[in-house]
Every structure is written in structure tokens, then in C-alpha cells.
Symmetry: C2
Subunit: 228 residues, 2 copies
Amino acid sequence: MNDMPSDKTLPQDIIYARIWSAIAERKLRPGTRLKEEQLAELFSVSRARVRQALAALERDGLVTIFRNRGAFVAEPSIEEARDVFFARRMIEARLVERLSAAPSQQAIDRLRQHLNAEKAAHLAQDRKAIIHLSGEFHLLIAELAGSRYLWQVLRDLISRTSLITAVYQSHSDTSCGPDEHAQIVEAIARGDAARANHLMDHHLEHIETALDLTDENERSTDLKDILT
Amino acid sequence: MNDMPSDKTLPQDIIYARIWSAIAERKLRPGTRLKEEQLAELFSVSRARVRQALAALERDGLVTIFRNRGAFVAEPSIEEARDVFFARRMIEARLVERLSAAPSQQAIDRLRQHLNAEKAAHLAQDRKAIIHLSGEFHLLIAELAGSRYLWQVLRDLISRTSLITAVYQSHSDTSCGPDEHAQIVEAIARGDAARANHLMDHHLEHIETALDLTDENERSTDLKDILT
DNA sequence: CACAACAAAATTGTAGACAAAATTGGTGAC
DNA sequence: GTCACCAATTTTGTCTACAATTTTGTTGTG
């Protein structure tokens, strides 16, 4: 797993990033088959690189690899989606709590700086930047809370959340404005741990309830289930 | 990443398990270089398999791979060790809390069954089994708490804990008897979420404080630091 | 005598070729 | 006409050889 500061863009990381973006932007739909040779040709690299990228995507939950059958864009079940949000609420609520307990001025500055970037993206209606920055906000909290390990876990969870959002996004535009982020930052700045905890929990609940996690929305990949 | 039921022992998984055991049993000390060809010869497999096993070990935090320089048994810093325990206390305390809220009879039976196995191992003084079962107990709680994702995170954390224990184990035999586990199970069975939470938190705290996580115990791998 | 630059050895990273497995299409029997 | 079985194709998994990089040892110069 990559460390926090990962600037060197290895060739397989580029492939990873490209596929990641394609999935997050719903260009690659869940269930799509990802043939190794096809990707190798597309990116002008050998299959070995593609295999590494696919393996990395698998451990981040974005693709599923079936033995001897190939890689497919993952199709998170409703159960898995709820599980991801359960984990996020548990972890992030405690992280803001910890951060609120002793917030350094530097931390608050970085958070406020980030909020400005988010506001700018919203004004520009840059959907791609909005999604990216929204994830970054949550990662920033993990970083400032001082847990390198949970930062990595959260990075993984946010990847999965992106896929879940792509699959179960309801028609109502889940704008998820920066207001809730701003409130959380305020609570942290005041050192109000209980309120920060509460706000983060509700923030994630809002994101979850904005999705169509109803049973009828579950698209079973098993044709037997569909055609009976 | 492997799913919960993973019975098929792939050849590279065997290599993974062998190295894992060797590290946990302190036969392979932190900092030891793991040359690919050497391992390939040792296990009578090709280097490709070894590379896969090493990559898996790296993402579980047991080895560190430096680009173009090879793989080494990881040397968790004190900071990383404390971070792992922070994450475990956060996650596991909440998991027992959740499990205590609605413990099924089946869940309680499995926990009690596990406690018996632990007692048997302690009576037989089977150190290897004790370590293994101790980890299994914590994983069992995650499984019964119903979070597949956090089960995977915890599996990773327990791997790292094994390495940390191997490195920072104090001379006093950290027996970590099954008594504390039994108390936790009792609290769960009674549905006493608050107490289960409290007991788990203290249990992990005991394990952590039983280690030599003092600064002077930090063995710096950087020769520059050592010889000045 | 010490330091720096260079060359050689060792080790990892990558690519291409081969083997194993699974799916698909076709053929034959009932 | 339908089902089962077998062969052919496609796709993945694995192995071996080559290239790139790092480390180590040597030599020459200040």
C-alpha cells in the first residue's frame, strides 16, 4: 500500500487512476468485464502492468477478480454498501472527536483552506472536482487526527463509497454541499468534540440516505434471479 | 483480498503463511532482507509466486518493499505500534458494543465454544495455538458483529499486532490469559453493551501496556542514528 | 592518504512465450 | 426437436529470459 506522500506516478498507478476515474464517473458500469489484453493494448503497456493495477483495484474493492475468469467492475451489494457506511460512521465520528480534543491552529487553517477550495468548485460547478475534494476533506480529517493507519482505511472506504454512489445514486442531485463540512470544521475549531462527532455522524447518514438503497434497486448480476 | 471463507490453499498463500508464521514466531527478525530468488529456491517455486506473496505481505504491513532494492521484514515504529492499538481500541470497542445490543444465542454459543478452545490451548501450553486463537477471538467478534468490512480491517490489524508483539515483547511473559476474553463474552451474553465496550477497551490497553513501547527500546534501522 | 568517479556484480522489474482453464459453438444421439 | 457431450477458441495464469537499477569494489587523482 502506498504511503501518504505518493508523488511518483508509477506506470501501473496511472492505469489504476484511469480505471478508478472511469468507474467513479460511471463510464465503466458495474459488471463490465475488464480484459487484460484489451487494457494492455489500450494503455500501450504489457499485461503484467495491467495485472498489478487490477490486483490493486481489487483490494480497494473497485473490481472483482474471479479465478481463471477475469476481472469485472465490482457490483457492491446493498449489504456491502450499508457496511461501508457503518464503518465510515464509526471511524470518522471518532476521528473528529479526537481531532476536536486538541485542534492545532495549523490544522484548523488547513481545514478552512480546504473549505474554500470546495466552495470554489461548487461555484464553478466542477462536478469532478467536487467529488474529489469531498473525499479529500474526509481524508484530511484522518490525517490531522494523526492516525496514519486509519487514514489508509479511510482512503479505501472512500474509494468504495465512490463506487457505491455511482451505482445507487438517486435521481435527486446529491449535491452534498459544503455547508455540512463547514459546520464540522467550526465544531472542531471550537473544540466541541461531542458536536463534531454528532455532525459527522449525521453528515454520513445524510449521504447514505440520499442513495437508493432499497431492495428493489438491487440489480442482481445472476441471470437466474432476474429471469424468474 | 481473500473473502471470509478461504479454504483453497493457493501455492502463493502457502508461502505467505510460512513467512507470516516465521515472522510471528520471531524466526525472521525485523529488518531481515528477503531476497526473491532465495525464497523461490527455498520453496521450490518460481520468483513470480514469491513476488505475489511478498506483495500480499506488504499490504498487510508485515514486510516493506523498497523499489528496486528488495523486500525486508517490516520494522514497525513505536508510533505505528501505538497507532495500530488506537485503531483496534476504536474499532473493537464499538464492535462488541454492537454485538452486545442484540446477541443471538448462536453467537454466544460460538464465543463460548471458542473460549473452551483457548482454555485447552493454555492448559497444553501450546504457545503457537494460544497466539492463533487469541487473534481468532477478536476476529470472531467482528464476524458476529456483522461487519464484513471491519472483519477484514481487523484481520489486517491483528497481523500487524503479531509483528509488533514480536518486536516489542517485554520479558515478562505476556500470557494474556483467557480470563479477559471470558469476561467480555459474559458481558455480551448479558447484553451489557457499556461494560463489554469498557472491558474490550481495557483488554487492548493491557496488551499494549504489556509491551516495551518506550523510546529507548526503539531500534533504529538507520545506521546514522545508531552510531552518533 | 582520502575522496571521487567509474566499472562490475548482484538483484529487482519487465516483457514475451507457453501452459492451463473456462466458455462457446457445433455435432450426434435419443 | 432437445439434450448431452465433445472440440475449438478465447482468456487467464505461470514460467523463463532480458533490461534497468542499485550496490559494491576498484582505480586514479588531488
